[in-house]
Amino acid sequence: MTVVENAEQAKKDPSYLKALTELVYQLADDDFIISFRGAEWLGLAPHIEEDVAFSSITQNTMGHAVMFYELLEELGEGNADVLAHERTLEQRRNGIYLEKRNGEGAYHEEPYYDWALAVVRNYFYETFKKIKMEAISTSSYKPLANVASKALMEQTYHLAHWKMWMNQLQHATEDARERINSRIEEAWSEFEDVLELGSYANDMLKHQLISSEDYLKEAWLKEVGVNIANPPESPLGKKYGSGRNGVHTADLKQALQTFAEVYNSDKKAVW
């Protein structure tokens, strides 16, 4: 494997650079949007102790997004804050399931947020993130491999936390089981693009940036199969399309309007 040590080297091969930036956008946008949804939950969790623990995970995850945006900055894509706040819907690469609103209502008004969705979504995402980060920790692009190894240091706790919630609620009351199961069913029809790498998947593999989509998907199915009581029999789906190709829902539009509201109020300003 040819190791690419830094951004200057990566920029010399246009095909490499393109596949690399696409991958890093996906990583950055996934972590950014799920931590945005986490930030909306702040103060609304089932009990105070959980609120505090959940927020640490959210902060860590946004911290990972920052590291990925900074990699893009080095690759010449522009300033990290600009990348996070200014890109249009079509330019965003996160999986669509991750942009889904936390439930009915808004975070500051009538937030009928669903803890079952939070548990299922975060458990599914963190399970996948571990697999993906491990695959990337041996990436040909050294700076990316380094960031993945760093993210894995904290991420183990995130996964353990959500796995605990998943296990406990699945084996609690009938009501809890039903709520979790119905969110699992829903996720099953929407989660697939999170597991995918978009139209540059082959180039990513060719340049040894990450393993194949098939491997990632299999590894995820195997892992969640161990922990969920009744995995749906239907195949995985991506009901709303693929976020990896810039397809998104109104939920991401709401997110974008919210997280860029102050940023957009005065673009000349230093905040």
Partner: protein, 329 residues
């Protein structure tokens, strides 16, 4: 963040006959600087005043997370998003520490955290006046961190030697984190103060709006203003050291010069330091309004309580699902 607030119509505690000998021993202990622990004998008046103080303090932290939380997902840069999340998380964490302290004090009455939440939602447990106010712009997120927390730090550090051990230890942790909060607030404010016309404008507008609430923060200077005051009891039992007015003066001492140094003004032309009297002269805020605010009739009282209520009710199934017997632990 915190201060003890009173609406003047608190339920009066029934007079309880205390064991005179135990009472004297107790007073001797606190006067010798000893710390009282949760299972030590204590006068009913002390226990009840502490429950009221600490549960209000704790629940104010929880309610205090909400106004800033409105700006958390909206924070204008990645760094600010992270900073304000950590700050609001701390407020929830402070609520956790304080409610644990209050819960242990309430044990003899068979009350738990569930009762505290219910008391909040039905209006029996009050929360601090500042958290009934709207946060209209990003500058408010800075203002809460800088001046509201500044005022909170002033009143909390005043209790760092409190006679009640568990409260004193919680405050020690809280005050250490407040140092970060103060600097987080200052950083937001500094960027606005040195920023564009728009930024300076929202900053000044925010200060104008928050000024009366900041003065009210420390409570009335005497019972005469609002009809009751527990400050004397708190001083007698060595929970706090200074009066409301002393704390307000200390706050103005520390912060007004900084406010002016940023080129900001306060909406009170009479504000000045009187060298002869050695204190700040200011126009009294409207204490009737204060009473209304803490009776949950403030500008955002209903909405904030509604948020808490939804979070509480909407997650009830989770708490019910995990009561220990159900999962067989």
């Amino acid at each position: 963040m915190y201060n003890y607030v009173e609406d003047g119509d608190s339920k009066t505690t029934a007079y309880v006959e205390e064991d005179q000998e135990k009472y004297e021993q107790f007073m001797a202990r606190i006067e010798a600087g000893e710390k009282i622990e949760a299972d030590d004998w204590m006068p009913t008046e002390y226990r009840q005043a502490l429950i009221k103080l600490i549960s209000m303090h704790g629940i104010s932290e929880i309610m205090g997370a909400l106004p800033e939380k409105e700006w958390t997902p909206k924070a204008p840069t990645l760094r600010r998003k992270l900073g304000i999340m950590a700050k609001v998380q701390d407020e929830m964490g402070h609520g956790q520490l304080l409610l644990r302290v209050a819960e242990d004090l309430m044990k003899p009455y068979g009350k738990t955290r569930e009762n505290l939440m219910e008391d909040l939602l039905n209006g029996d447990l009050k929360f601090h006046n500042v958290f009934h106010m709207p946060t209209k712009t990003w500058a408010d997120a800075g203002m809460v961190g800088w001046l509201v927390d500044g005022a909170a730090i002033m009143s909390q550090t005043n209790m760092l030697d409190a006679s009640y051990g568990p409260y004193q230890r919680a405050l020690q942790r809280i005050c250490q984190e407040e140092v970060f909060h103060a600097q987080h607030g200052e950083a937001i404010i500094m960027a606005l103060a040195e920023g564009t016309d728009y930024q300076r404008e929202i900053l000044q507008e925010s200060l104008n709006r928050w000024w009366p609430a900041l003065l009210m923060f420390f409570g009335p200077s005497s019972a005469a203003t609002t009809g009751s005051s527990k400050q004397d009891i708190m001083i007698k039992y060595r929970v706090r050291k200074s009066t409301n007015e002393e704390l307000r003066q200390a706050f103005l001492d520390k912060y007004l010069p900084r406010v002016f140094s940023l080129g900001l003004t306060v909406p009170d032309e009479t504000v000045h330091y009187d060298e002869k009297e050695g204190k700040w002269i200011y126009q009294q805020p409207d204490w009737n309004e204060f009473k209304q605010i803490i009776r949950n009739k403030g500008p955002r009282s209903k909405e904030r309580l509604r948020l808490r209520e939804i979070a509480y009710e909407n997650n009830r199934w989770v708490r019910q699902a995990l009561v220990p017997e159900t999962i067989g632990s």
